[in-house]
Symmetry: C2
Subunit: 328 residues, 2 copies
Amino acid sequence: MTIENGREKLHSRIVGIAESVINGDVRNAARLMRQLDDRDPRAIPVLAELYPHTGKARIIGITGSPGAGKSTLIDGLIQRIRAGGGTVGIVAVDPSSPFTGGAILGDRVRMQRHATDPGVFIRSLATRGRLGGLSASAGMVAQVLDAMGFDRIIIETVGVGQDEVDIVRHADVTVVVVSPGQGDEVQAHKAGVLEIADVLAVNKADLAGVDKTVGELTLAIEMAPQGARKPLVMRCVATDGTGVGELLDEIERLLDVRSRDGKLDSAVRTRSEALVFDLVMERVGGAVERLMKDDGDIRETVAKVYGRRMDPYRAAGLVIGRLKDLKI
Amino acid sequence: MTIENGREKLHSRIVGIAESVINGDVRNAARLMRQLDDRDPRAIPVLAELYPHTGKARIIGITGSPGAGKSTLIDGLIQRIRAGGGTVGIVAVDPSSPFTGGAILGDRVRMQRHATDPGVFIRSLATRGRLGGLSASAGMVAQVLDAMGFDRIIIETVGVGQDEVDIVRHADVTVVVVSPGQGDEVQAHKAGVLEIADVLAVNKADLAGVDKTVGELTLAIEMAPQGARKPLVMRCVATDGTGVGELLDEIERLLDVRSRDGKLDSAVRTRSEALVFDLVMERVGGAVERLMKDDGDIRETVAKVYGRRMDPYRAAGLVIGRLKDLKI
């Protein structure tokens, strides 16, 4: 077999996998997502083949503090999307952990009852990783779901830190879930929450303290500077379904408005940029890690920093000087 | 004035600022930290001068979910460190936000009552930023506090996401604060928590449900694989001080043990590597951002990705091909 024949064979295999995923082959799709989460480079050419078939799904980002009830709420949204005849893929992003290697959490297990429904596909990510890794993985898994033809994709993350802000860049509409009684620090997050939310879903709205939480959030929104996002505050009780249908209606209304005024196009543009940036940074990060691990001179340089015989800024400059020679 | 004279003058100014910071000039230190948070490049040569004077402080990382009571607990630790004659610097890391631009939060305000005590220095970070930016900033501000001669440095972060894991790399000992009644999702974080914690402080130990939380955490620790970190679970009530002295004693005991068995040295080595890596990635990230913003060809490439006429992996390869020509 010539090298060229080998290449052709490989390429037709890649095209074959991509086509099967587009046609809804769940096993190949699941394997591809696992490869993406594991950072297996074999996934990339398949993803490249899938790319022209993406862009049709609408992406809903759902984030919020631990304990706010996100997973129960998502469960309710899935039910309602399915009842309306739509299909939905879910990307659930966990904090990275070497213990779980792909955590199945209590709430996730609850969602898994949709596992036998071909109109629902759930994938948890547990990427341990390098800077930006989570965001890049979530975006890539969402692309696979998009190519598979799911109408809606929900990306679930925990918290409102930098990771979540990065992940939310992948979403067309973002819901931040808060609940009363989470203590003073909902306050602390208010600014970050306002920054990324299209809708603030105040969950557990049957609890005491909900009026206070809604009042505080509303005030914060009123006080936000001109031009800032002014999210709608909505109440719901995910456990009994109260307000969940209204939340989905609002999400769909926003998607519709944005589709008509071109905002979704602009979101896709931003996403394309972010995706390229993430991929570049990930490859550079990998190359820098390898250099710092394997290169004798650079190891010596880092040892000098450790011994306080060289400052880290100079050392960083020396590493950067070596980037030109690197295979990135 | 010749260029050489100018350089010499600039250098002696930098040395002057660095010396004043080492001698405890609070105004210059605060300005330097603000510059670091703002990513002002003028801070870097000063930090390089400070670097040989660092490495004496012991760094305590404190993290946990919103509402766990971290800030109150830190307030108690500050009091006890001061009562024992030690000095302490605090780096409080916020989720990035364009609204606050340097948030002063309710709990932070509480800590600010130490503001007139020269043995305490508190700095909140609000770095909006690029990947890895928060971690790099926190590490650099900790270095300034170290050079100023503080005995202990506390780095406070929210959550247990990737940002926090990165930030914790800067710490010699890490305390994760949890509280009962934070719902099922304390569960969800358990793996991440075990991964980074030396001590698990179960705060609000006067609340109902504390035994269940302690039991679950203890079980999770017992079930952790061999070789995994086995954090000690301690109860406390930060609001009335119960258990806070014991927590500080345990932190000091761990610092002492690690100092004797060389583990702190190894932590410093890991930190040096991480710092150099962060600095490299930050400079590369800035250069890639500028390239993607300013370069016509690359903008055209990203537009093709947006139009689905090129896949993002190929586009990332083209950007990487241009890194060699970049001034990073």
